[in-house]
Symmetry: C2
Subunit: 226 residues, 2 copies
């Protein structure tokens, strides 16, 4: 059985490994856990002892099969609770992360199964992130970043990479919601900002900083959530 802390480390190793491909560094983990590198090293030794990670001193870290299985369970719980908070309790998508961060650690197979059923077995969380299957598979969506879309293309907003309240509030403010269609009208070469039309409605300016964090799909996919 793992502690809250160990579960958090596993989850963060998983997401860092997927962001930059390959081994995860001590410093990256220290930043993400808001601790110091020395503390991370201690924890890595413990996780390695428990066979949850592959760890060679100075060489970075990688999840074992068992470690990944556990990480995906935590992520599954996190995302299911986020769906609950938004769809059932009426929270905004910018308000749920911290609460889900605590709910994700309540370990009861039965609870997760019932919650999943109750929510109608959702495929995506309120940020468009796929929910790992009960069997522990993480669906791979082939999304691109809006910052990589060519001029004139017509795409659909499927997910966001950044979950901070400020970022999500900013999107609300620009009328950018999951599932909305986006047409790229103009790309400014000097700062890579874009001018897009949302649906058939208004035209908004999106900075490169923001565009990098919007995942889109060319296909006319069904809306993930709303």
């Amino acid at each position: 059985m793992q502690s809250f802390t160990e579960e958090n480390y596993l989850k963060m190793i998983y997401s860092l490994a997927n962001r930059r491909q390959g081994e995860v560094s001590t410093n990256a983990l220290a930043e993400m856990t808001s601790t110091k590198a020395a503390s991370v090293t201690d924890m890595l030794r413990k996780l390695a002892d428990k066979q949850l990670i592959h760890y060679k001193k100075y060489q970075g870290v990688r999840l074992t099969e068992e470690g990944e299985r556990l990480a995906l369970q935590v992520i599954r719980r996190h995302r299911l609770w986020e769906v609950f908070l938004v769809q059932k309790l009426g929270f905004g998508w910018d308000e749920v992360h911290d609460i889900a961060e605590e709910l994700e650690h309540i370990r009861s197979e039965d609870l997760v199964a019932r919650l999943d059923t109750y929510l109608g077995c959702p495929q995506f969380d309120p940020h468009g992130d796929p929910i790992p299957t009960p069997a522990g598979q993480m669906p791979e969506m082939g999304y691109r970043k809006l910052s990589e879309v060519a001029m004139g293309e017509d795409v659909c907003l499927m997910a966001v990479l950044e979950h901070s309240t400020e970022f999500l509030k900013h999107l609300d403010h620009s009328n950018l919601t999951l599932g909305c269609s986006i047409t790229v009208n103009e790309i400014n070469t000097f700062d890579k900002s874009v001018l897009v039309q949302i649906g058939t409605g208004r035209t908004v300016f999106i900075s490169h900083e923001v565009a990098k964090n919007l995942l889109v799909d060319s296909r006319q996919s069904v809306v993930a959530s709303h």
Copy 2:
């Protein structure tokens, strides 16, 4: 801000204080927290430092006003989550205690308020226990134990004092559910067991051990929950 452990101690001091009136003893807390008396003493010193309890060495302990306020918040969260688990997720009343024991520690004013609204502001949890008000008042029900009811009386089962899975399963087995009416047909003097009729239906035997843990009301009150 209090830790999980501190919250658990406050909650247990509250319920022990209400059970046997007056100061709560170190040993009683040790038994209830499944720790040793020495550990309890350590924690009592800490809670006293934080002004959450009145504590004089060797003299037992009592909650301060602030301590009681916090204890009631924890109890409110616990009972609301129990309602959620039973009414929304379909758990049995014998399965929810341990999960609620973890959920109760998630501190978000907003979460509790929304959950309360979502559940329809319930007054009682699945065991018939009153849910403290948001303002921190614990409603006082004037229930009696079934073991104290006179022969021939007609009462309504309102709550249970024991929450263990075995006990609750035993009640299910005897068709004893919250809100059912009970007529005392016979009281055996040698072992204090009773023979009762449930509603207009079958007649069951109830040992003193069980009857002591059933709270009833003479009035034809509306069913608390079901």
